[in-house]
């Protein structure tokens, strides 16, 4: 030991640097996962556009792009503060301290970003359920409301330390707070809007109302969107711990990613075979339902369960998703063109319940010991309380929102607009004009035109 060095001071310096490194890795991790997750907006857009008719393609794509914008504005102005702000916060709702990121600690910028991406996801889930018949301004309004208010309140309950579900309900990556909330709002929106014209018809032969399949215009893009969503789901579930630095942390992340993979893969396999036996075809929509439902079902306990449990919850999530699809189509006659509610509400609920059984206390903590590991049934009770809270709140607020817009005449487009397509009536033209259409358009616009400029 030389005279020049004081080990205690040196060691204190090193400790500070090591803490700095831990923090750096985690911030980098949250950033990367947030960026990957952001691309889910493109995934949702493509899945939606491919699954609907060409005449409404611009509408749904613009909707997804604006969803990312409106959510950012809403989450910046009020959403994040409603979730995590302090002045005036209580167990039900956050305070005003973080509005416009006013007093946001510099280190929390990156958490704002990740949470904004989640808020945008919640809002975008709804768009699939109300597409092809919803006014564009209604999209703008409900995106703002969902990302700025409805979802932030739910996330306050579960993820803010003062929330009344915090520490009692286990909802790791938002199978409840994101997916069930989005899925309930989707169902309420689709119900209030009513079905697309011609979706349900009365069959003399069968003596009852039956659904008619309205095929999407581009299966290629629908599958591309699903693959991008899968890509994003790794980050959605993987990133939800906000940390990967440290052994317990990276083990949890690795587990979450494998659980996500298996949930989706087994879910997709199940509905592929079910669809084949039910329809005689290897049907893309069935596979997508199962794949996404399987992944959504892993969200609540992605970091808390073993691989075998992921296989089971993926199968259960896919089964419940497809069952809800059939229920909406054949019994309730609710027209959800993207099956958004089934994928997010049905499978989200499966995941919320399943975690009460499969949570390994080694991963989830002693307070969240799953029933399979000798845990108490009150764990399940609290999960159900959480589900009821999310659902009731979302049903109430989105019911008021969509009902109010409906009452004002701001929600559903007219029959003529639905016939022609929203792209022409609201967005100035078709999504896929032929190469020469501009010529006739120009000649209509400029009847007096006589010579082409040099």
């Amino acid at each position: 030991m030389t005279d020049a060095i004081d080990p205690a001071m040196e060691i204190a310096d090193l400790k500070a640097q090591i803490d700095d490194l831990y923090a750096s890795i985690d911030i980098f991790f949250v950033l990367t996962m947030g960026i990957v997750c952001f691309l889910m907006q493109a995934g949702f857009g493509l899945l939606e556009v491919g699954s609907i008719r060409a005449k409404n393609a611009s509408n749904i794509m613009l909707k997804n792009m604006m969803d990312a914008s409106v959510s950012a504005v809403a989450y910046y102005l009020i959403g994040y503060s409603i979730a995590y702000g302090t002045d005036g916060s209580n167990s039900f709702i956050g305070g005003t301290s973080l509005m416009a990121l006013n007093t946001l600690s510099p280190v929390d910028y990156i958490y704002w970003f990740f949470n904004y991406v989640f808020a945008g996801t919640t809002a975008t889930i709804v768009s699939g359920a109300v597409c092809e018949r919803c006014q564009f301004k209604a999209y703008l309004i409900y995106s703002f409301a969902l990302a700025g208010f409805i979802y932030p309140v739910c996330s306050h309950w579960i993820w803010d330390s003062s929330g009344f579900l915090n520490g009692k309900v286990y909802d790791f990556a938002g199978g409840g707070a994101v997916h069930m909330v989005g899925g309930v709002a989707a169902a309420v929106g689709a119900y209030i809007l009513g079905p697309r014209k011609g979706k349900f018809i009365y069959s003399e032969e069968k003596g009852k109302k039956v659904p008619v399949e309205i095929p999407g215009h581009n299966a290629t893009l629908a599958v591309l969107g699903t693959l991008i969503l899968w890509f994003g789901f790794f980050a959605f579930n993987g990133g939800s711990s906000y940390t990967i630095a440290g052994e317990a942390q990276y083990l949890a992340t690795g587990r979450a990613v494998v659980v996500t993979t298996l949930g989706g893969a087994f879910g997709g396999m199940l509905t592929m075979f079910w669809g084949y036996f039910a329809t005689g075809a290897w049907d893309i929509a069935w596979v997508i339902n199962g794949l996404l439902g399987g992944m959504v079902a892993t969200c609540s306990g992605a970091n808390a369960q073993e691989a075998w449990a992921a296989v089971i919850v993926g199968l259960l999530g896919a089964a419940v998703t497809q069952s809800q699809v059939l229920l909406f189509e054949h019994v309730l006659f609710i027209d959800d063109p993207l099956n958004a509610s089934a994928v997010h509400l049905g499978a989200g609920a499966v995941g919320m319940i399943w975690v009460a059984f499969c949570a390994n206390p080694e991963y989830a903590g002693e307070d969240f010991t799953g029933i399979f590991y000798g845990g108490s049934w009150s764990f399940l009770g609290w999960q159900i309380v959480g589900m009821i809270a999310y659902s009731s709140w979302t049903m109430l607020t989105s019911g008021l929102l969509f009902g109010g817009m409906n009452y004002m005449g701001w929600f559903r487009i007219s029959d003529e607009e639905e016939e022609v397509g929203i792209d022409i009536t609201e967005h100035g033209g078709k999504a896929y004009p032929l190469d020469d259409e501009w010529m006739s358009k120009a000649s209509v616009e400029e009847e007096s035109v006589e010579k082409v400029a040099a």
Copy 2:
């Protein structure tokens, strides 16, 4: 303390390992941001292809793919050395030491990669402005020139320690060196090429020349491209510090990502509403202009400003972008089919100026104290010097380049080719042939064919 351990040596070892960790995180960070950023080539390609006519789709997609290739070759052979090489370097231009990565330090490989992606971005900006009427070989030539020479010189000025703007101009992520350079070259190219046939016509009614909208053939892909660009922008701005390890570093990165988000989101909102009041439709092209313009405007000071400043610069960037679009279309009659110059030049300039006002010295350093924080007006003066330098250089060099190619007859395609579409005349066939077209093609090619092989 045991005998076996010499704390001083142990501590020295630990220090070395900690330095190693800092470096590892930063390299990993630059790699990840570079990879994300690379996908912007796909984003540009999709935005461009969706915004033009189907008959030139293969052309523009191949152009984007070759842009990534040509830029890599050019930046490998000469570009990186012109920017950062030493032998013979001066304040204007780098030296020859790094040609073909000759004496490149191993640690700099990853920086080459990130900078190559930026060089490719600069080159690809131009393609939108000259599309639908530019010869394919002209693309190859100017991509090489931009990525290998014009852009590297500008990046030498600002980012090489010997550059004459280094330490005087603040241009964090290249709002000037990338976007203004690309935007000026785009404007020069579009001006020299002249408008597409039928773009501007003389209206008897109005008694003046008016623009005709030539709609793109696929709005879905245009929006997808914009979302991928947004995804890439997080890495473009987030990664430009080359470092995330350390508190100051990760705070800066977090800020840059939030600033990017807000700039884009508010910019897109502004032009969405402006477009609605101007055209009566929720117009996709207007939204894209504002979104991208808002993000470009954040580039120069992405890490140096507060969230509220990002809101303002996003709005300003979007407003100037859309204004330049209208100026080009209605006053100057320059046909830039993608509004590439407006998005990159107009908004890039806004960001260069804005940073002189909004730069927080706590983030940007005392030498770059924004005017709002009591800084000197000479900061603004230097920003303007930088803007003039970038613009003059690019105008001169790209003017010579495009003018020279035009003089040689290598730049614009013939009227017949423009009528038929470049895919058929230069690329061997249409981008979207119908399923049976190969049959007739085959029979034409092989008139003597009589029997189909088993």
Copy 3:
């Protein structure tokens, strides 16, 4: 030094934390590279769908989505264990210990994920070669077999410490174990299936059998897919070291990414010019062959060679790829619609051989000193042993697999199905139905329908 601190204990603590940080960075790295790499499934899907006829678009996209699912199931149940399991393992094959991830160490979850993505890639290579004429259930069967058995055995040989090629053959990112294996299986599948109807015709004029070009239906998506594959390749080659923490580690990763970039860029340039001189057009398919072939050729030695060597191997890989394309089309009359075998087998073999020449012992270790660096020719000998082993094994197993399915009548669709398109015969409808097709469909389905429900 205060009394309260025992430096030795403190130092031991710090050491443990530093080890923890190294591990955290590496796990985060493998996760990120795996996620990026996963998107290659979308890249393959788009390249394939764009390169074939519209009538089979749903089929190929669903195939890619199920490939990701089936591979996950197969690799979970048996594949990973066959590669790296211990009970009963030998130099040829792994054991049963890791089936269903049974005894998988928690830290290995993330490695399972990365390796699963590779297994899926191997399986998906084949789909390009057999597309437009392969039954859907055959896809499911061979995906399971490739990802669950054929590929895992090869990866055991080379990457498991007990494998008989381990330590003797240099195959960093699987130019042999992934690409050659996929490429051989693709060739065997395409050969056994036979060409698409009308692909090869007898030309009276030329007096011989000639190929007919069957153009893909969407060049835009084919290029998009290629750009996504390029994006993914950075992670495929960059991530194959599983580590970036530490100087040697991050230098290797940086080199691998630059090598990948240059290999692809120079390869694409070569075939672009070659294609131009051969066909008179700037042909997209030629460029794609060279770009992908150039990148595949870098895989075996991505981390072991200098930049100049990457330029050479990129050019060689592209040249061999395109030569194999011409050989299959004009001499062997094997119909591989995506040139999958040429890109992966031809260029993979180039990379396996090249590494024996170019491997810098400073990077690859003394045991792998390239011939250019004074190494022994036995290095080349072992590379050839590896290539023969991979190829023979894959030819045998895939021959049995495809031959067996063919014998059972499970492999090729009927002539009528090929005429109509697989989307209608196996997947319930066209990928791109027109907006009104559902109306006629509905009226056919429900002839008795008389009134539309409210």
